[in-house]
Amino acid sequence: MTKLLVLAETDGASVLPDTLPTLAFAQSWAAATGGSYDLLLTGGPEIAQAATDWQSYGAGHVLVAASPDLTHPVADRLAAVVNAALQQTGATSLAAPSSTFGRDVLPRIAALRDLPMLSDVLSVTNSGNGLTFRRPMYAGNLIATVTLVGNEGVFSVRGTAFGKPEPSATASPIEAFTGEMTPTQGTTWIGLDAPERKRPDLTAARVVVSGGRPLRDAETFERLLGGLADKLGGAVGATRAAVDSGIAPNELQVGQTGKVVAPELYIAAGISGSIQHLAGMKDSKVIVAINTDPDAPIFQVADYGLVADLHQAVPELTRKL
């Protein structure tokens, strides 16, 4: 029977929630192949305690590799561990979230085990002739339907394409990883700069909430837009006019002389839509405009336009989300 190993994303001490969609993928995969899947947790000594929370997702086994050396795993170290875990579990396929964690280590393991790899999988089905997958290409402008030669592979899973995994009544047994966890010579982990209440980087955020001069002052700007951004897990942006008026810092400027962004969702509050600003966000997937002026040019590019005063609409939106 064919087996898939799910590599959980951890921060060394606990398992991160984006592992859930990967488990959902594993369930789809299992349904399509008639196979089973195991879950691998790697991290420092504390990760062992997390294992009990992950027994109810239908994994055949929950394998725990806990060691001080794995608190901050670097790719070559982690790849070696996962490689050994594949052998221990007898899995011939591997999946992990397509976060920077997954994208860093999965291809390395794929090469070590001479397996093909698919990045950003959106779906897996059994076409009758084997497995068929879908994944985005050209920055999401095209969707490719692909197959693998041999049907075994490594998969990085796009979280927004899979929901939550089905819970299982049977508890997965916990097993200890029996392989080597020695550090490699080549790479040294120096440090991680992870600010406390960090918003994602403007150019990489999935959601951007942006505002213009109508926000009047820095305090209102941060309160209204920051509040909405945090609710959505997004970043905050600003127009040139807002930056010039001193209500937003320079690094937030989106536009032809500022940053160019292409998030999934761009909310423009109190922005008229001058071409300099549009040049910085026109490739956003979904654009929402909130403005009191029904003739503002921004409405020409917005997918959804709300003619309203942002001082009421934005807090309302934040509240109701």
Binding site: R240, D244, S245, Q256, S274, I275, A279
Partner: protein
């Protein structure tokens, strides 16, 4: 007795001999000084072919005689007229005396310098001499007391003026002494109106004393002659030459370069100072260091590093150093070759490496230029600073030294043929609901309306082109547009320095335009206007190109467009650089605003060809700048100060820059910034609704 003057009155033969010797020395020093600069010019590409002699001579007359540019400033202009004509007159006077003197020696009697002619000369020389004296005095006073910021001040400047002043003063004293010492001249004192005053205290002096005055005056004059080529006064010789030999290229039209030439030479643009052509090198020597260019520069005015005068001086100094060094080098090699006949490795001519690079001009200065041409307009020496700056830009872009948002703009332009990187299919979005036909060769149009990239993609400019279209429809003008076939004229590429991207776009546009048989083109944007009118002919595109205000003014004049009058309270107009200054069109918009619509026009001081740049030209629309260094804010303050209820513009860039700046500083009650066409449409909307048939009104 016949009025005349004894030349060399009581100056002994020995003194005369010494005089001739000193004159020889002084002339040699002068000629050498000039030659020393002249040979620096020889290295560059030769002067352009001259076809239009009448225009040149007219230009020479305008500048050298009428002093048109110099006299733009009253005080400085007047003093220059005094000094210039004073020196010319005295020079002619000396020549006359010289000819007379040798004539007398040959013929042994007085030749022509007598009688009425003599008396006329006397009066004129006195008056011109006074002009010279006053002019020099005014110059010294301005220099020492007013101390203008960009004039520059060295001991040489003061020294020469002082020398000139002394020479003139002693000249009058000498004249006075001559009048006093020679009783034969007493009856004709009236014809030396100034000299006579100087003769009063010297009454009764002896010829011997006269000689002393002569010995004081003569060396001073010879000193002036000798000093002429060694400072700013070299311009006296150079400027007439630059005027006569200038290129026929209109202001703001840059020179092309062919791909073959770049392939052959491996260079493009001004990489080294030796890349300056002959005329450019000569023009640098014509720089009188007046500083008017820097005074007019909008970038300099808002505190940026750019200083057009400094660029000229820096390049001039570098050229001198480089050429002198290469001369010494060549001499040394010749000497070596004479001593050692065996062949030595050939030095690469020209480029010595880091030493002669145009890198003396910093990136900050170079990229701050908006190409507004205020410096070029002001310069009495006709120096084309912008050509030099854009030449250096060509080189630096070719070297990959352009990065940042301007580079992104060039990539987008290269990829999508418009600087904002938007799809060509969207180019007619502005015309939704207006039913404007697209052009083809048989459409029987009257004019082709070139919408431009801003008009197609930029929201505020879209409003302008809609207004223009409405007006054209009202006037019954049959017009078509190119739609998605339009591409950027290439102006941002050329002004930023990507010459070949410009040529690519220009050639493609000319092919499209010729393909639809374009004859008359009207543009919304002065940059499109300038580029197609002045630079496309070099690529085979000869069309009649009009700015929309020009065409609309024509329609009004022809009666095809009738405008209601006096609906708006007041308006002020911001002249676009590329329309008003570079292309001399200032009347048409005013004919529309003030003439036809009769809105009270409140003018700013920096208007028409003195207009102050909004800051967007030269590719700067796509470059970031510090909040405290925005020409747009400077201009907005000036426009707001007029108190006008509307600000009218004629350019989509100006509309954005001035619009944003006025919104920034104008507060709640800031006046709207509208294109002239929009003002016209608003007036019409307020008056009568659109009548479909023309002639119905």
């Amino acid at each position: 007795m016949t009025p005349t003057r004894t030349i060399f009155f009581h100056i002994s033969g020995l003194s005369q001999a010494i005089f001739y010797l000193l004159a020889l020395v002084s002339s040699t020093v002068c000629i050498w000084g000039f030659y020393r600069r002249y040979r620096l010019w020889r290295g560059g590409k030769p002067f352009p072919k001259i076809r239009d002699w009448p225009a040149r001579l007219r230009s020479l007359f305008d500048q050298a005689v009428l002093h048109r540019r110099t006299r733009r400033r009253r005080y400085a202009g007047s003093l220059h007229v005094g000094i210039f004509f004073g020196m010319i007159a005295l020079f002619i006077g000396t020549v006359i005396v010289g000819i007379e003197h040798y004539g007398e020696l040959l013929t042994h009697h007085i030749w022509f310098y007598k009688g009425a002619f003599y008396l006329l000369c006397k009066v004129l020389l006195d008056l011109f001499g006074l002009g010279l004296l006053i002019g020099t005095g005014m110059a010294l006073a301005r220099r020492l007391m007013a101390r203008p910021r960009n004039l520059g001040h060295t001991w040489k400047d003061d020294g020469f003026l002082a020398l000139l002043l002394l020479a003139t003063l002693t000249g009058f004293l000498l004249e006075g002494a001559g009048l006093a010492a020679d009783p034969n001249r007493a009856p004709y004192l009236a014809f030396s109106p100034i000299g006579r005053w100087f003769s009063l205290p010297l009454e009764g002096i002896t010829p011997a004393t006269y000689a002393i005055f002569w010995w004081v005056h003569m060396p001073l004059v010879l000193g002036v002659i000798a000093a002429l080529p060694y400072g700013r006064w070299l311009h006296l010789f150079v400027i007439p030459a630059t005027i006569v030999l200038q290129s026929e290229r209109p202001m703001g039209a840059l020179e092309s370069i062919s791909m073959e030439e770049v392939e052959e030479t491996g260079r493009i643009g001004l990489a080294e100072v030796t890349d300056l052509d002959r005329w450019q090198r000569m023009s640098l020597d014509g720089c009188m260091e007046c500083g008017r260019c820097t005074d007019a520069c909008p970038a300099n005015a808002v505190g940026k590093e750019l200083n057009p005068k400094q660029i000229v001086l820096d390049l001039r100094a570098l050229l001198t150093t480089v050429e002198e060094a290469s001369r010494k080098d060549a001499k040394a090699r010749r000497r070596e070759a004479l001593q050692d006949p065996s062949p030595s490795p050939i030095h690469e001519g020209g480029g010595q490496g880091v030493g002669d690079s145009t890198d003396v001009i910093s990136d900050a200065s170079l990229w701050a230029c908006t190409n507004c041409h205020a410096c070029v307009r002001e310069c009495p020496a006709l120096i084309r600073h912008v050509d030099i700056i854009d030449g250096i830009r060509r080189y630096r872009v070719a070297e990959g030294r352009l990065a940042g948002t301007a580079a992104t703009m060039l990539r987008q332009l290269s990829s999508r043929e418009n600087p904002w990187g938007l799809p060509a299919s969207q180019r007619l979005d502005w015309a939704k609901g207006l039913e404007i036909p697209t052009a083809n060769a048989e459409d029987g149009r009257e004019v082709l309306f070139w919408v431009g990239c801003a008009g197609a993609f930029e929201p505020r400019a879209q409003k302008t082109v809609r207004a223009i279209a409405e007006l054209l429809q009202r006037a019954g003008v049959k017009f078509t547009v190119l739609g998605p076939k339009e591409r950027c004229t290439g102006d941002p590429a050329r002004r930023t320095g990507d010459e070949f991207l410009f040529q690519q776009l220009a050639e493609a546009n000319v092919a499209t335009l010729n393909g639809v048989g374009a004859k008359t083109i009207i543009t919304q944007c002065p940059h499109c206007f300038h580029t197609m009118k002045n630079e496309y002919p070099a690529f085979g595109g000869e069309y009649t190109v009009l700015h929309h205000t020009q065409f609309l003014a024509q329609l009004v004049e022809e009666g095809r467009l009738q405008l209601p009058s006096n609906f708006a309270e007041s308006v002020t107009y911001h002249d676009p650089c590329f329309l008003a200054r570079v292309n001399n069109e200032t009347a048409a918009p005013r004919k529309l605003l003030n003439g036809a619509l009769q809105i009270p026009l409140v003018e700013v001081e920096r208007r028409e060809s003195k207009t102050f740049c909004c800051g967007a030209g030269g590719g700067r629309m796509w470059m970031e700048e510090d909040r405290s260094q925005r020409p747009g804010i400077n201009r907005a303050n000036e426009l707001l100060a007029t108190g006008a209820k509307t600000v009218a513009v004629g350019c989509p860039f100006c509309k954005v820059m001035v619009g944003d700046s006025i919104a920034q500083v104008g507060g709640e009650n800031a006046p709207p910034v509208l294109d002239v066409a929009e003002v016209m449409v608003a007036a019409l909307a307020k008056a009568e609704p659109l009548k479909v048939e023309r002639g119905d009104i």
